[in-house]
């Protein structure tokens, strides 16, 4: 076994006594081996101690529980030791280190964009590096304040928040006063922007610049810097250039709006059909009803109408949903929720929902929960590690409540992380009481499949009083745990059947923003 493998085995406690002896021999004889060991062990030790960054609970640092400590309790007499204990038993991993990012810009808008780097989404932070846009249009907002609109095919190198290089393609840059001095490199020329708007076309070794507004200083090789004012162009070839050759900005933004409108309309058409699905228990499209004087109605539109299953918002405020013009309810404060009452007894269920999670900041983050947790009632939540959690329990004979022994819990892989927060995602879960299989989906893809060892076929599923985005109403003198969702919901469908993977995929495709 080579040195590196031995070190890793040692770090994970997976090393055999023979391998350990081999490792010791290598360390004893070679200071470079010890260096490698120390670098890897130190990195491991640091990771074990590392504070968790970003969204408070997503990566909680749990503490290794050790009881050994109490052996020493006789030694601890003074208040000093008591204070000290608080630090050593619950090590507050360093006190003052903040989460850091090396991002220089963010991708703010895209239109039919296809990147060589695979999946880049609007809202993604971009670290320094090269971005290759094969087709479509992408808008990049630099953290300095400069904005660049890029048309594929193009290749752009992001150097920092203040500097970029266009290797090929058409780019249009807007620089507000705060980002004055923003530098754009192109073959043979460096453009220093003095607060303005200009466009750049790069084709092979040739570059053409046109200034629409303000002033740009062009630094070319072997020439004195020249100032380009509004309406002026510069070309490395002899040919004449016209402003029409450059990327038009208004048109592109119009196209982006238009695309959003098209997607919104497509979803509306799908939604009109979907509400006729006989498998629906209830379907809430979160339409903000103009004629609702109380502004609190969250109606189900499943056909035939079942007005008794209409929901009522508490606290939660209306916000923009997946598209401009589409409403959503935002859950933020501990009391925010949507109350419903769903009657009936079912043999299978599907929950499907469009949700934007801003932060996973509690141990349990509510999606749909029944009041309390009685026999046969399903709960659907986001667990602190960002996974989807579905649970249902049945009390045994003579038992009053669901216990750890009767609670069936199903977790998906973690799906909410810094990369997926703050964006609209489609999540779904299906469960049928015959096979007992729980399938969970994220953006149309399966992320969890499990049958609980506690499953017994044929037990009914019921709801009664339940709510979106929160859990429980306190009864006199009994507080309730806070499980408010930190985010927004803009569509929620509940079916009395386990929908197929193809059904879920269709829902995602039809509704994606």
């Amino acid at each position: 076994m080579n040195l590196e493998l031995l070190i890793h085995a040692k770090l994970e406690g997976e090393i055999t006594p023979e391998q350990h002896a081999e490792l010791e021999d290598l360390l004893r004889g070679d200071c470079n081996a010890r260096r490698l060991y120390l670098e890897l062990a130190d990195q491991h030790a640091h990771l074990l101690q590392r504070p968790t960054s970003n969204t408070s609970r997503l990566k909680p640092s749990s503490i290794v529980n050790r009881t050994v400590w109490w052996r020493n309790s006789t030694l601890i007499a003074s208040a000093a030791a008591m204070i000290l204990m608080a630090y050593v038993i619950w090590p507050q991993k360093h006190v003052d280190k903040e989460a850091t990012s090396i991002g220089a810009a963010m991708l703010s808008q895209t239109l039919d964009a296809e990147f060589s780097q695979g999946t880049l989404h609007s809202g993604d932070t971009i670290a320094p590096g090269t971005i290759t846009l094969n087709k479509g249009v992408a808008q990049i907002e630099f953290f300095s304040g400069a904005t660049a609109l890029i048309e594929g095919a193009a290749q752009i190198q992001i150097i920092s928040a203040w500097e970029a290089r266009c290797m090929s393609g058409r780019v249009r840059v807007h620089v507000p006063p705060a980002a004055k001095g923003f530098l754009m490199h192109a073959p043979d020329v460096k453009l220093e922007d003095l607060g303005t708007e200009f466009a750049l076309n790069v084709n092979g070794k040739n570059s053409e610049v046109h200034v629409f507004d303000g002033e740009v200083i062009a630094h070319s090789k072997d020439k004195a810097p020249s100032s380009l004012k509004a309406g002026m162009s510069l070309s490395s070839t002899k040919g004449a250039v016209s402003p029409r050759d450059f990327l038009p900005i208004g048109e592109i933004q119009g196209l982006i709006r238009q695309r959003e409108q098209t997607r919104f309309e497509a979803w509306k058409t799908w939604s009109m059909e979907a509400r006729k699905d006989p498998r629906l228990i209830a379907y809430y499209p979160f339409n903000h009803l103009g004629d609702d004087k109380w502004d609190r109605m969250v109606n189900t539109v499943a056909e035939p109408a079942m007005n008794s299953r209409n929901g009522g918002a508490v606290g939660a405020r209306w916000a923009q949903g997946r598209w401009p013009g589409k409403a959503a309810l935002e859950f933020k404060r501990p009391g925010d929720r949507v109350r419903m009452n769903l009657d009936g007894t079912y043999a299978a269920v599907t929950f499907a929902c469009w949700v934007k999670v801003d932060s996973v900041d509690k141990k349990y983050n509510s999606l749909l929960l029944t009041d309390g947790y009685e026999s046969g009632e399903p709960h659907w939540q986001i667990y602190e590690d960002g996974s989807l959690m579905f649970s249902i329990g049945y009390t045994g004979p003579g038992e009053k409540r669901i216990t750890a022994k009767t609670n069936q819990m199903y977790f998906s892989k973690p799906v909410f992380s810094a990369d997926s927060l703050g964006r609209w995602h489609h999540i779904a879960v299906t469960y049928d009481n015959v096979s007992g299989t729980v399938l969970q989906y994220f953006d149309g893809k399966e992320v969890g499949r499990e049958v609980s060892s506690l499953h017994q076929p044929g037990r009914p599923i019921v709801f009664g009083s339940c709510e979106f985005g929160n859990w429980g109403v306190s009864t006199q003198g009994h507080p309730f745990p806070i499980r408010t969702l930190n985010g927004a919901i803009d569509e929620f469908a509940i079916y009395q059947s386990a929908l197929s993977a193809a059904d879920i995929q269709t829902m995602f495709e039809q509704g994606k923003p």
Partner: protein
């Protein structure tokens, strides 16, 4: 407690909090077992507390504290001398010496590690979360990621190698190596 001793208490608590990470790393690098390292850290903190009146606050705290940590590691080794998976005394000595020499470089590496963590692909990030932040056991991770034990450890190995390479590269490009 008289005011002077309560001030001393505050001082040691502050110092321990401030240097806990470095002390943990020092101990861990010598014993390579998290649970043992935490125990030894506790014993070390207690020892430092008891002997704090001998500490000369005009001198740096860590070198002074490392001596106690080293002694506690030796003590722990004697206690569990039959455990075959602990480094022998001569190796511990060599590592302790190397570590004091390499301290600035090791610290520098950790500065770069943060940036490298940010560059990991989503799969590796998930692995970091599961293994380090959530402290999931191998069994839990095998189940949640549905991989075999072998694959899991191979993936963890690759993750650490990627991080190590990334840090080395950054150091090199900064001209620090």
């Amino acid at each position: 407690m008289d005011p002077a001793s309560s001030q001393r208490t505050e001082e040691i608590v502050l110092l321990l909090t401030q240097h806990q990470e470095s002390l943990f790393r020092y101990i861990f690098n010598l014993v390579t077992c998290e649970a043992d390292a935490r125990d030894i850290l506790q014993e070390t903190s207690l020892a430092l507390c008891r002997k704090f009146d001998q500490y000369d606050s005009t001198r740096p705290f860590l070198p002074w504290a490392y001596r106690f940590a080293y002694l506690q590691v030796q003590k722990h080794r004697e206690k569990s001398s039959r455990a075959p998976l602990m480094f022998s005394e001569d190796i511990i000595d060599m590592l302790a010496l190397d570590m004091e020499r390499m301290a600035p470089e090791l610290d520098q590496r950790l500065q770069f590690l943060e940036g490298c963590l940010g560059k990991l692909n989503p799969k590796d990030k998930e692995l970091v979360t599961n293994r380090y932040a959530m402290r999931q056991s191998a069994e839990e991770m095998m189940q949640r990621l549905s991989v075999s034990r072998r694959t899991l450890f191979r993936n963890l190995e690759l993750l650490r190698v990627r991080l190590h390479d990334c840090v080395s590269q950054q150091l090199q490009s900064e001209g620090l190596v």
